[in-house]
């Protein structure tokens, strides 16, 4: 049976799946990301590909990777929690070892592409996908293609400066004031806790239990997210705005952002702006990587 080998490189795990051309998972698994170095890393990947080549006619390898990915050459720049994959040509290295066609795409872009192919932005020709996690990232997709920009920074929404301070503007980028991480830091600071005591889920639990600081910080987060989304809407005017990342799985988060967006209207700012949650969760990168492979020409 014809199939595709898809990998999602993460700091903790490499996830993989054998997929058909509709992204149906025929086989899947994950291994802890090797820390030893590039050779061991490539050995693991090659081993997995060989193993599944016995039972499937593998048509090629699709990769989702952190970092500044040059999809044309297969070179992975930038930096991430897997330092040794950066600064090398990943596609040619794997092609040498397996003899198969290899494609690579940035992980946030993969997640965005997955939504357009089979998810919440299906049949939408212009959408943006905002991923809220440690920082804020995302992608801009026009006609099923990523708007990459001159230096591959297209869709790096988290760099937007949101504060009013002229002194230290880079201290108030969107990532620093409205990410899940910034929520955790703010609650920890206001509750006098040492760094690392809480995580996002615990903050939502505290808020549900009636904690006023947690509730205030969450309300502030919605406001700051809504402001950035408002800006993006007026700059790009996409058909759809999707929210991804761990906290987007909570319906109250999407509702909270939409409530704030509804307030950002007056005689001049008249657009009705709303967001929707991404459909795919853990598999988004795999699905998007496959889509990229199938449409790479």
């Amino acid at each position: 049976m014809k199939a595709y080998m898809v990998f999602d490189f993460g700091g903790t795990y490499i996830k993989y799946a054998v997929m058909d051309d509709k992204s149906k998972k025929l086989e899947c698994g994950k291994i802890p990301t090797p820390k030893e170095g590039l050779d061991i890393f490539l050995d693991h990947i090659t081993e997995i590909v060989k193993h599944y080549s016995e039972s499937f006619e593998i048509q090629g390898i699709a990769l989702s990777s952190p970092g500044a990915v040059d999809v044309e050459t297969g070179f992975i720049g930038g930096a991430s929690a897997i330092p040794f994959i950066h600064g090398v040509n990943m596609t040619s290295l794997l092609k040498e070892r397996t003899g198969l066609e290899v494609s690579v795409e940035n992980d946030a872009n993969c997640a965005a592409l997955a939504e357009g192919w089979l998810g919440a932005a299906k049949e939408t020709d212009f959408y943006i996908c905002i991923v809220i996690g440690t920082g804020i990232g995302g992608g801009i997709v026009i006609n099923q293609s990523i708007l990459r920009g001159a230096t591959l920074h297209g869709g790096e929404f988290g760099y937007m400066i949101m504060g009013e301070s002229c002194k230290s503007p880079l201290q108030s980028t969107w990532s620093k004031v409205a990410s899940a991480n910034s929520l955790v830091e703010e609650v920890e600071m206001r509750k006098s806790l040492v760094r690392g005591t809480l995580d996002g889920e615990e903050i939502f639990r505290l808020a549900e239990a009636g904690d006023s600081i947690a509730n205030e910080c969450i309300a502030n987060l919605y406001k700051k997210l809504a402001m950035g989304i408002y800006n993006l809407k007026y700059v790009l005017d996409p058909n759809k705005i999707l929210i991804g990342g761990g906290i987007s799985k909570r319906p109250d988060v999407i509702e909270g952002i939409n409530n704030e967006l509804a307030q950002l209207k007056d005689d001049i700012s008249t657009l009705d702006i709303t967001v929707e949650a991404c459909k795919f969760d853990n598999d988004a990168n795999l699905i998007g990587a496959l889509f990229h492979f199938l449409n790479r020409k």
């Binding site: 600071m189 206001r190 509750k191 006098s192 806790l193 040492v194 760094r195 005591t197 809480l198 615990e202 639990r205 505290l206 549900e208 239990a209 009636g210 904690d211 006023s212 600081i213």
Partner: protein, 316 residues
């Protein structure tokens, strides 16, 4: 020029739960057999420690802070930010909670909030602390307090000498009997009492409770803090780093022999909790022993500690 440490004379506070350990253990002249607190390094108006040596002898730490701010690196704070105490919990302290900076500023006339931390100097075998509670929500906190079901409400942990606890504002807590503690805290005296074991003082009156304010600041559910101390060893000393945050950094130095240190903070607070030795810098040579407390001023620089001593050292 800032070559002289500021040695401090503590102030003692009688408390219904106090005892005599501050005399027994440190030899302090305590006012009575129910002495609960030694305010060792304090510029708080409710108990001002006085400078014992040098040109500021006899002046309060508050005066020196206000008039010689350069000794403290012109640290950006109107009030001296920290307060160091030794607490002798001969009996249980009331179950209490402290506000954070925002709440205290609003409801307590601009007082600081009170985040504190404890180093357990000594305790009875199987001694406990009240640290947190078992209620899941604010509503449950209210119900459990109103029904007086303290056994079910209060979360107890067993303690040992050498343990360290970080007690952020909002944490329900109480020291229990048989505990001797060095406390590093924000300079604040704001306590909301939740439960006082229905005790009466020698006048037959109960101490006031502050349930409404307490309800306003209690974390529900309880948030536990895991402190993972980092230990660094070098010639003559073992340094244990307990906590570093924007309120305070607190470390323990176990000096065994001779070791060099740097005072490169705005200022540094030092309490000797066990042993004795010497503090050497240039031609200055001080004999220091348990129960001594001093501040190393701005740009004090390198110094040497010699002897067998356990010190709790903090800076803002």
């Amino acid at each position: 020029m800032n070559d002289t440490p500021l040695f401090l004379k503590p102030v003692f506070q009688e408390r219904i739960w106090g005892g005599t350990a501050l005399y027994d253990r440190f030899g302090y002249e305590i006012p009575s057999a129910i002495t609960g607190e030694c305010w060792a390094i304090s510029a708080h108006p409710n108990g001002l420690s006085l400078i014992e040596n040098g040109k500021f002898q006899g002046k309060s730490l508050k005066e020196v802070w206000e008039n010689h701010h350069e000794l403290f690196g012109n640290y950006k704070s109107e009030k001296f930010p920290l307060l160091i105490k030794i607490l002798d919990a001969n009996e249980e302290l009331s179950v209490q909670v402290h506000p954070n900076d925002d709440y205290a500023n609003e409801h307590e006339n601009g007082e600081y909030g009170k985040t504190e931390c404890w180093y357990i100097i000594d305790c009875d075998q199987d001694a406990e602390l009240v640290f947190g509670h078992h209620a899941k929500t604010k509503e449950e906190v209210r119900e459990m307090i109103q029904s007086g079901n303290w056994e079910r409400f209060l979360r107890k942990v067993t303690i040992r000498p050498g343990d360290f606890f970080y007690v952020p504002s909002g944490t329900v807590h109480a020291l229990c009997n048989g505990t001797l503690v060095l406390e590093t805290q924000q300079s604040s005296d704001t306590t909301y009492r939740v439960y006082d074991y229905d005790r009466v003082d020698n006048q037959g009156s109960k101490r006031e409770l502050h349930l409404e304010k307490a309800m306003g600041v209690i974390n529900a559910p309880h948030i536990d803090t895991n402190i993972a101390p980092k230990i660094e060893k070098r010639e003559g000393v073992e340094v244990t780093k307990f906590v570093q945050n924007h309120f305070f950094s607190v470390n323990k130095w176990d000096v065994n022999g001779e070791a060099a240190f740097q005072q490169n903070q705005a200022f540094m607070l030092v309490s000797i909790i066990d042993g004795e030795g010497r503090l050497l810098k240039g031609s200055e040579d001080y004999t220091i022993r348990k129960g001594a407390h001093f501040i190393l001023p701005y740009k004090y620089g390198e110094f040497i500690l010699k002897g067998n001593m356990k010190l709790i050292v903090s800076h803002p």
